[in-house]
Symmetry: C2
Subunit: 354 residues, 2 copies
């Protein structure tokens, strides 16, 4: 088992990565403070893993909330539904929420934990690759708003993250690929060696070799933990984790949440950011091709939907949370292994690549 | 002018108390980080003070959200309305919200600031006595849920609190009295001398003598700031500030929010807590009478609504946020000037006094 620690003083917590973690009860139960828990999950994941998790919790009073699957469910409406359920069942401040599922479940459950009675404990059990390498670590919680993704939320850290790579076995191939976009992102934004490692291990990853998956996820979580412990609330370097996301969010918003998977939109967003960098004479054209090849090896889309033009991008990008004083701020790779934030990209320049 | 500081490391902030503060722009503007602000207020307060506040902000781009007046508006629905307004008007992370109004406006605006894009700055300009001595200080933000008051919220501190006692001149007498319940609370729970001072200055307070009001509000804010700086998230002593609130919340919930004012419910709640203490042979009967007299001097109700019996209290009290492991936790005064939290009050004992 790989165990990492996210260091944030009194809010520090462990990240466990292994196969068969959903059979190891003690790792879960030692982070639960009282006798009541409420598992929040969706109708797909619940059929696969809810009974295993409940077995781990046989000494606890276990309540459950099962939402429909999908990004469209990450809504204020479902947030309210969780609040109502917890209140109707008289959950107190000592209840622990357990997020069992992908990024949607993790984000909405974390936000519910942040707000219920002004904050209760929660634990992440991410079951998708994307949530295992990205959204379950670092305390970004949120729901979507029709006018923008993740616009309503909080920085609120879990008490522990349990990553069982066995849950990837039931993940649809398209969702696994979407997760790979975030994996590849870590290589592009900060770890050239890891990017090479991914090129070399593409077949092993696609064959789901356990030791390779554990190492891959561990390297992603370590990278994220290092960045978050330096900058919990995205005042600085944490913004680099948004590589590909500004373009990506525009694609998701324009296409309707869920039609493009988040990871797919990020993959295309990273290609656009890389093209911008080439246009600025920073990234070499050969590096752009390597990025495209690695993304393509995992069946990720490299081009924006044909229906989207410059204007459909820019209207969403102007609402991006990173923008300050009305200025667009974009993350671009200078080279494979190093990204920077730029606030000097003109709309003309954007129009050229979009 | 009285200036206090709430000490919470990097989240520390000043509390300014004076007359004519709404004419002193620099105290407000120095806490605004960028050029955009959005004032959140209600349709009563906006007619009285919005133009003054906008004059102070002539160098800024000022947006406004005007909610209907009343406790019923402290809802998730209006929270969503604020989010939608901010997004539709492309407010970024550097926008500052200004809460101009009473506790309802302060609480919902603070919660909106806590959640909008995972947290933006906000400033409190409380215009009611209750919000000046209590809710604007200490970072408790929330909205109500049909199943309980303040059940959805966050601990999120403002950047500054500006208390202009002149705004009390336009406050309806009933609301001033409701604020006095929270003022008297500080005397009962932690400052016997202040309780005596209030007994001696009842007439001056009712005559709105400026120097007396400033001293009174300063003493309340100092007491609250001392407690909050020791225990920001109510893990310990902060719970004492809930004296009278467990019974009070039950009254408010049972009567429908807004029919009883919060301060009125707290006044009756404090009498019930004091009666409980007398029944436990702690508080002397003469002290109970002094508490009742001081509350009565400000026209506050001393008895629960006739329609409420033991069962209508207990069903709400079982949902109180202070409860742990299903056990009721109540704050009671041991004597005037000292309160304690008890988790050993039986329902039989409660039935006796309710």
């Amino acid at each position: 088992m790989a165990t990492l620690q996210l260091d944030l003083a009194e809010r520090s917590y462990p990240i466990y990565i292994d196969s068969h973690l959903l059979k190891a009860g003690e790792l879960l139960t030692k982070h639960i403070r009282a006798k009541r828990v409420c598992v929040v999950t969706n109708d797909v994941v619940s059929q696969l893993y809810l009974s295993s998790v409940k077995e781990l919790l046989s000494d606890f009073q276990v309540d459950e909330i099962i939402l429909p699957d999908g990004e469209a469910e990450k809504s204020l409406h479902n947030f309210e539904k969780i609040m109502s359920h917890l209140l109707a069942n008289t959950h107190g401040r000592d209840t622990t929420l357990i997020a069992l599922g992908g990024g949607v479940i993790g984000d909405i459950t974390g936000f519910a934990a942040a707000c219920y009675q002004r904050g209760i404990d929660f634990i992440q059990i991410p079951t998708t690759l994307l949530s295992q390498v990205d959204s379950s670590v670092g305390g970004k919680t949120a729901v979507n708003h029709p006018l923008g993704k993740n616009m309503i939320g909080a920085f609120y850290q879990p008490k522990a993250v349990l990553i069982d790579i066995n849950s990837l076995a039931t993940l649809p191939a398209r969702e696994f690929s979407a997760g790979m976009a975030e994996v590849i992102k870590y290589g592009i934004l900060g770890d050239r060696e890891f990017f090479y490692w991914l090129e070399q291990h593409t077949d092993a990853i696609k064959a789901s070799e356990s030791s390779v998956l554990i190492e891959m996820i561990e390297r992603c979580c370590q990278c994220k933990a290092d960045i978050v412990s330096q900058d919990e609330t995205e005042a600085g370097c944490r913004a680099l984790l948004n590589l590909g996301h500004t373009f990506g969010h525009a694609i998701e918003a324009e296409q309707g949440y869920g039609n493009w998977l988040h990871g797919e939109a990020v993959a295309t967003g990273m290609v656009l950011a890389a093209k911008l960098s080439v246009a600025l004479n920073l990234l070499e054209a050969s590096e752009l091709r390597r990025i495209e090849s690695l993304l393509a090896a995992f069946d990720l889309p490299l081009e924006a939907p044909e229906t989207m033009d410059f204007h459909s991008f820019i209207k969403h990008m102007r609402r991006d949370k990173k923008n300050i004083g009305g200025k667009l701020r974009l993350i671009i790779p200078n080279t494979i292994g190093q990204a920077v934030m730029r606030d000097d990209i003109s709309e003309d320049m954007l129009q050229q690549i979009l």
